[in-house]
């Protein structure tokens, strides 16, 4: 009777908690597997959260980069327009002013904050990357730190874009070009993303002009000044750099797009994985409610029968029959 009662109590507990493993000793290998499944599911949930946060951040980055690209296209249009050098003073003034507006717009976009941190500053997230008051103006104040987040056990993904790689037109090796007026222009890479430019004469001997830039803000700033002073040589020298900067921005955008795609794929992989794990966990741990209910009923009936039988057996003896 005691055994039946113990069984009854246990079935009750199983039914109440919905789990057929009530303690590790009930099913040691099962509970070990259940623990491992839980750890994995927890990890997947965690990575999923990381992915969601990373996706949000990269989406914002993507939007800003798109706007930057379109502004840069407008600047490029300005360059093409003013490269001919056939503008009058009034046009030049207004174009120069437009260029300076574009420069400010580029700087504002590059200074975008997300969750109160500067998006494009690398690790120096509390430092504004581009400002007019630095010397030289619009020099990149951030660093090249890459922020990684974990999207799987041994997999991390960078979630930021640093200004020095996105907004520059850095050169790998020195280049020489001949511009429309016949002058030779030498582009030499300097420190960091700086490019030093030398404008020489038609014979490529005498140096007529030198300037340097390290990012698109500085380039646009130079453009604005060049337009107002009608320095057509400089304007023409800036044509190729702007193309290169556009390509660099496009590459950066493509990279961000690829990352977003990777995150999406990883997210669905994790969701699938979590579903599989949860099914396995339920198989190990969860009680079949219907079967347990039936079992409980059977045990109850057995208990009742036991009670009835015992009371009959225990009450009779020979003494009942002797007077």
């Amino acid at each position: 009777m005691q055994k039946t009662m113990e069984n009854y109590a246990r079935l009750n507990q199983v039914l109440g908690s919905g789990k057929k493993i009530l303690s590790p000793s009930d099913d040691v290998s099962g509970s070990t597997r259940a623990l491992a499944y839980r750890v994995n599911i927890n990890g997947n949930t965690r990575y999923q959260q990381n992915i969601d946060q990373a996706t949000a951040r990269l989406n914002v980055t993507d939007t800003v980069l798109t706007q930057l690209y379109s502004t840069l296209s407008d600047v490029k249009g300005l360059v093409t327009q003013s490269a001919g050098g056939t503008m009058d003073a009034a046009t030049r003034t207004s174009l120069s002013f437009e260029a300076s507006l574009f420069r400010d717009q580029l700087a504002d976009l590059a200074n975008t904050k997300y969750l109160n941190q500067y998006l494009f500053s690398g690790f120096r997230t509390s430092t504004q990357p581009y400002s007019a008051s630095t010397v030289p103006a619009y020099q990149y104040q951030g660093d090249s730190g890459v922020m990684n987040v974990m999207i799987d056990h041994a997999a991390t993904l960078p979630v930021n874009v640093t200004g020095d790689s996105a907004f520059s037109a850095a050169l790998a090796a020195p280049a020489v070009q001949q511009i429309g007026s016949g002058n030779y222009v030498h582009y030499t890479p300097g420190a960091g993303t700086t490019v030093n430019v030398e404008i020489r004469d038609n014979t490529d001997t005498a140096v007529l002009d030198t300037f340097s830039y390290s990012n698109i803000m500085q380039m646009t700033d130079l453009l604005s000044t060049a337009i107002s002073t009608n320095d057509t040589l400089r304007i023409q020298a800036l044509v190729t750099p702007f193309s290169q900067a556009q390509d660099q921005l496009a590459t950066t955008q493509a990279d961000v797009g690829a990352r977003l795609l990777r995150l999406k794929d990883q997210s669905s992989l994790l969701t699938q994985g979590t579903n599989t794990l949860q099914t396995a966990l339920a198989a190990v741990e969860d009680a079949d409610m219907t079967a347990t209910g039936v079992e409980l009923q059977k045990t109850n009936v057995a208990l009742q029968a036991l009670y009835a039988a015992s009371s009959k057996i225990m009450s009779q003896s020979l003494f009942d029959f002797l007077k």
Binding site: S23, V28, T32, R46, Q117, F123, S126, V149, L318
Partner: protein, 542 residues
Amino acid sequence: MSLLSILDIGKSALFASQTALNVTSNNIANVNTPGYSREAVVLSIANPVSTSGGMVGMGVMISGIQRSYDRFIQAQLLGQGQSQGRSSAMDNTWGQIESVFNESQGTGLSSALLDYFNAWQDVANDPTSQTPRTALLQKANTLTTNARSMERSILSTLNGASDGISDAVTRVNEIAADIAKLNGQISLQEAGSSAQSANELRDQRDQKLTALAQLVDFSTYEDNNGSLTVTVGMRNLVSGTRTNTLSAAATSDGSMNLVLDGISITGNVQKGEIGGLLAAQSDIQSTALVGLRKLVASITQQVNQLHQAGFGLDGSTANDFFAPLQLSTSTNSTGASVTASAITSQTALTLDEYTVTFDTVGGTYSVLNKQTGATVIPATAYNAAGTAITLPGISVTIAGPVTSTDTFTISPLANAVSNFSVAMTDPRKVAAASAPALPGDNTTALQIAQLTDAAQLNLGNTVFSDYYSNIVSTVGVMKRSASDGLTFDNNLMSALSAKRDSISGVSLDEEAANLVRYQRSYEASARMISVADQLMQTILRM
């Protein structure tokens, strides 16, 4: 041969019936007495006399009152009782430990551990913000609190086992005193007469032995006087009417040492409640307790190592996240002591516990790994003026005269859980960065978060969660085998008890039939006496 002899025959018959009725009613009265063996009257013919017509019997004689007793079954019951006592104690104790690690009911360390390392990922995702840092410190506090409370539960179970051993020892001594007294009484009653058997007293003594079997394993030897000698752990507990006192004393590492008749018998007691509690204590200490401590120590060591190299938001560095590990030593010596002990390098610790033993013949000491018994430092000269012992990350100095039985224990694990606490309160000092003044730098936070996937050398090349899972499954296996053993022992015990009852138990039906039988024979004997009386009166009236 005369009429008077008929009276004598009748008288003997009356007495026989009367005694038989007494025995039957005694059986009926004791139908529910535990350990009572059914008694039966043994009747025999009284010596016949020779007469002219032949041999005529002189009535009935009671040659004895016999106890239905099977010595073999009794011995089996005692043995089984010892096994059952052990199984019950182990099942009970392991059940308590299991509830500390019961993940499916929400206790245990797994979720706190996961939450803690997940909190580091939150910091890595957003290193400049205060919120994940504050949350990290909270989760760390939850982890330390949970670990500490788990250790407290385990320690209180161990203390409960020690208390159980002390209580059992007291009961053993009480039972021993009772057995000694019964020995005296039985010897007295059975002295001289070979037929007499002190039935009730023997039943009582058997009861005492059954109770003793539940407590401790023993063996018995009965001598010719009916006096029982009881030996426990190869020393005499009861010998005739004398007893030796069993005592239990706590040792320095939390277990109990049993002493009987001046000799330590702890290793020889395997069964009974005491044996079960001793075994459970030593198993729990070497699996659950050491496992938990080692896990916590490893987490402390690894997180601190990475955290010290990192930089906080305010530029601070070389900060411990958790309170660093501390060395604890325990002394089992009267002459020598530890004069200096320190952790020389937190990162060099292998998280093992060490035992120092001595050999006075060779004047050397040696150091063994406490858990595996492997030699860490082979025999080296010991100088009583002061000997420095160097182990990975540890340096200890022992001085003083030693004996061959002295031991010292050196352990960085003993306080690992009780000291487990968060060493910082300022969220800005949480080191997420790998260089100063870089608020967006999350490399250190990422490294710490990735510790969950790193196989730890000190944990036998497993990751934290696998090591913890091993502890849980070990506890589950031990509990499973203890409860299976108990079920088996219980079943066997029931079968043996049923067998014993079938031999020695009182059946009311049988006794009722006997009652009727002896009542009728009493009536017949009385009738016989009155007939003899009538015959005599007839003769007297002639």
